[in-house]
């Protein structure tokens, strides 16, 4: 189980937050997810044997949010 933080493009509406969080919650292997509005970051805890960081980034990007970096 690891936790990664993704820096997203500036989030403008709190509803985006709910959207990303909802999508991550429904992604298999994701244990916990938190989207930080002010810092425009997504903190995701996931099981790397089930899902890869790449897939998580894909999920977020498919929702229309650019990922600027990860930690």
């Amino acid at each position: 189980m690891i936790t990664k933080t993704y820096q997203l493009e500036t989030l403008t509406c709190p509803s985006c937050m709910a959207k990303i969080q909802g999508a991550l919650k429904k992604t298999e292997g994701v244990k916990e997810s938190e989207v930080l509005f002010n810092t425009s970051k997504a903190k995701v805890t996931f099981d790397e044997s089930v899902v890869e960081s790449k897939d998580i980034k894909n999920t977020i990007e498919r929702l229309g949010f650019e990922i600027l970096g990860e930690k």
């Binding site: 493009e9 500036t10 403008t12 509406c13 709190p14 509803s15 985006c16 709910a18 959207k19 909802g22 999508a23 429904k26 930080l36 509005f37 002010n38 810092t39 498919r62 929702l63 229309g64």
Partner: protein
């Protein structure tokens, strides 16, 4: 193909204008409609794309509602409505992201200040490396205009250092050998060799950055409430829209209601104010750890201060010299020379005072004998002297006149510790020593009172006399002396019960339990004590206590700003719903008002960034 948001908005806008020209000049109505549809598609495409991708995860967001409304509008031939809604939606989002960046700008500016290069000595050669590569114990070299990249101790040279990144104070401070320097501060003039004590993520600056980052998303109570509220609000609007359609069979009104009733301004109202407030604080050396704390700080009724190191400098200093029969300067010189070998804090205070006045004395006593717990007996230039407390005098049978006795008593009553000096027969003089009050403490207490703080209290482990003297000097309402750390906690509980929300202010060295048990813990001089920085809720990075009233003013301004935003957003949302139901507000005008309200809320928050700057704000601070 990827087109930036800005270009997309511009293109859509141009298409709308062309369409309008064609329509009004009646050149080609068909073509005008095509242009309008094109405008709707250009601006609407990303909205629809987002809507579809969200639907895949069974999430119905605002994108889906807008898409639905636009398709509906296109089907019934309302091309202008379709284009206007998508255009306004995209334009709004574009402008919002720009203004939002502004609210976050002071924090971003802080992040940009992190040092990016470090010059260290490796194998006797100066090399430039990334600050992450510096290890503890490295010798770091910093030249004028450069940023210090580690927390460390000066081992060579001296310099004027601008520490504003840490303390918020931009007047450079002079530091020399053995001085402590911080990462992120700038050497304005001079040259330094520094031994790295803390590097990378462990430096004070890195810790501050991390805390400020975290603080932004620690939600205020109001924010949590609003998020809960919007969780019920959105579904109820959807139900209302469905009911509306069932009863009126009016698709346009139902869709309009769906789109414009999105609680955007309401949900954004709190976080934007908080982030601007925290950003402003960080810029001024005040670290407020989150929205919740921001709200609590504004509501504090009682402030309890620790004495030593908080209201006072924490270092004893010579406050008064009185000589009987000889010159005062002469008295100070004799005493300082006599104390040459002593490391007692009082002796250090005397030596410091002498070296400030006369420079280095370069003289030593010929003989020096320590009388434990009482003082010294020394011989200087063939003369014997006694330097010490009252006990030493009484025991040695030194004659004290009535006048001398009155003077000493008065000094002691004012919380001074008095050092007696004699030539074995008569008293030559008395030197008063006390922990001095911080210069800005008096002003702070006055400011706090005018800010409406109900009670200012001092809790100290020090003796009754010293506590009484200082609390009188500063105008403190109540003081409690000779307290043990756990008794401070008890006193705080009493204050909380009697007067309401209580904050404890300390330097964090020995009042950690009190800081933790108060409604709010405020640490001062945070840059020098990392423990305090971690445990306190509010940290004043510099030693200036007067920043406390700034912090309180800022938190109140932030809460006020937040409330303005909330009320405004509620009024706009209510007005829009009524407008739609009353058929006064349509899709495009509703969208315009909605987007404008979101923008206004953000712009209102941006105003907070200017709090405390220049003349106007001085008035605000002292309110």
């Amino acid at each position: 193909m990827r087109i930036s948001k800005g270009k997309r908005v511009a293109l859509s806008g141009i298409l709308i204008i062309i369409s309008f020209i064609l329509k009004n000049t009646a050149l080609d109505l068909m073509l005008a409609n095509i242009f309008m549809i094109a405008a709707a598609i250009v601006a609407g495409f990303p909205i629809m794309k987002n809507a579809i991708s969200a639907l895949r995860y069974k999430i119905v967001g605002i994108d889906a509602l807008v898409t639905l409304a636009v398709i509906g509008a296109l089907l019934i031939g309302e091309y202008w409505e379709a284009a206007a809604v998508t255009f306004l939606f995209m334009l709004g989002e574009y402008l919002e992201s720009k203004t939002l960046e502004k609210t976050r700008s002071s924090i971003k500016a802080l992040l940009d200040l992190a040092p990016d290069v470090s010059r260290v000595v490796r194998n006797g050669i100066e090399v430039e490396i990334s600050p992450d590569k510096v290890v503890k114990g490295d010798t770091v070299i910093v030249k004028p205009g450069e940023k210090i990249s580690v927390d460390g101790t000066i081992i060579e040279g001296n310099a004027y250092i601008n520490q504003s990144t840490i303390t918020g104070e931009s007047i450079p401070v002079d530091k020399g050998l053995e001085g402590t320097v911080y990462s992120g501060t700038i050497v304005e003039s001079g040259y330094l060799k520094i031994r790295a004590d803390r590097v990378g993520e462990d430096t004070t600056f890195a810790r501050i950055l991390e805390m400020v980052e975290e603080a932004q998303d620690k939600k205020a109570k109001t924010q949590k409430f609003l998020e809960k509220f919007s969780r019920y609000y959105t579904p109820s609007i959807i139900i209302l829209a469905i009911l509306l359609f069932l009863f009126t069979r009016d698709l346009v009104i139902s869709l309009t209601l769906l789109v414009i009733a999105c609680p955007g301004a309401l949900v954004i109202s709190t976080p934007v104010s908080i982030v601007a407030g925290i950003g402003n604080g960080a810029k001024h050396g005040v670290l407020i750890k989150g929205g919740d704390i921001m709200e609590r700080l504004g509501k504090i009724e009682v402030l309890a201060f620790d004495k030593t190191g908080t209201l006072t400098e924490g270092k004893p200093k010579v406050t008064r010299i009185k000589a009987f029969g000889i010159e005062e300067d002469e008295l100070l010189k004799i005493t300082a020379i006599g104390e040459t070998y002593s490391e007692h804090p009082l002796a250090r205070a005397i030596k410091l005072s002498a070296s400030e006045k006369f420079g280095s004395l370069n003289e030593e006593p010929e003989e020096s004998e320590i009388i434990t717990g009482e003082g010294l007996k020394v011989k200087i230039k063939g003369e014997d002297y006694l330097i010490g407390n009252r006990k030493l005098f009484t025991k040695s049978g030194i004659n004290i006149t009535e006048e001398e006795e009155v003077y000493v008593r008065a000094e002691e009553k004012h919380g001074q510790t008095v050092i007696f000096i004699s030539n074995l027969k008569n008293m030559l003089g008395a030197i008063s020593i006390a922990d001095t009050v911080r210069e800005d403490a008096k002003k702070l207490i006055k400011n706090l009172k005018s800010q409406g703080i109900k009670k200012v209290v001092m809790l100290t482990g020090d003796n009754e006399r010293a506590a009484a003297a200082i609390s009188e000097e500063l105008g403190i309402d109540e003081y409690y002396a000779e307290l043990l750390p756990e008794e401070k906690v008890e006193k705080l509980e009493i204050l909380q019960r009697k007067f309401g929300p209580t904050a404890m202010v300390g330097d964090g060295v020995n009042d950690a339990p009190a800081l933790a048990s108060a409604d709010l813990g405020i640490a001062i001089g945070g840059a020098s004590t990392q423990v305090a920085m971690e445990t306190a809720d509010v940290v004043l990075m510099s030693d200036e206590v007067k920043k406390l009233s700034y912090a309180i003013g800022l938190s109140r301004a932030t809460v006020k700003n937040m409330k303005q935003n909330i009320y405004f957003a509620i009024i706009v949302a209510a007005a829009l719903i009524i407008g739609v139901l009353g058929k006064v507000v349509f899709l495009s005008s509703g969208m315009l008002i909605h987007e404008l309200s979101v923008l206004l809320v953000i712009i209102n928050a941006v105003r907070l960034l200017g709090y405390g700057d220049k003349g106007k704000s001085k008035a605000q601070v002292s309110i």
